[in-house]
Symmetry: C2
Subunit: 105 residues, 2 copies
């Protein structure tokens, strides 16, 4: 789904990745992380799609919100498992969105 973001500026974390073949706890952890992120005031939502290669973009009101998420213990534990088990490679990018444009039929 397309996240309903407020007027720019806001922030995006773009996570591009290739997974290993290990699925152990992956889906469950992903869902729990989404629940945990949703509890943060500055979290706006996440767009995510995978077909072999995956891109997930989470949106945030502020850099402080992203920092708070970075320091979240549940997130830190998941990140460790991600490196140990789930990801073959990834790139994480933090960006400030300055302009957006929506279209719908």
């Amino acid at each position: 789904m397309i996240v309903k973001t407020p007027e720019p500026p806001y922030f995006a974390v773009i996570f591009s990745s290739f997974r290993t073949e290990i699925n152990d706890e992956y889906n469950e952890t992903f869902e729990n992380l989404m629940l945990a992120a949703s509890e943060l005031d500055d979290f706006l939502g996440m767009e995510s799609v995978r077909d072999g290669f995956g891109i997930s973009v989470s949106y945030w009101k502020s850099i402080e919100g992203i920092r708070e998420w970075k320091d979240n213990l549940q997130h830190i534990a998941a990140k460790r498992k991600g490196i140990e088990k789930w990801y073959e490679s990834y790139m994480l990018r933090i960006a400030r969105v300055d302009h957006d444009s929506y279209f719908s039929l």
Copy 2:
């Protein structure tokens, strides 16, 4: 594939979309557009994945490069067809990447 981007800052265009069921000329146009974008000096590459919902992120050295692409006639023609035929809804976001972090096994 994960685009090999330079040291930040650089720029990202995040395009999140739902397609219609019309495929007419879509793949061919997408490939031709990628070729045309690759000819621009400031184009760094594109990451793209679709599984119903789609996210494509193109990376650029500068905002001027994004503007040049916005004014490209081939791109303008494709955008028109996109609105008429291929997309049910989309959000396009322009962002400045200030930080990134790469991991590989």
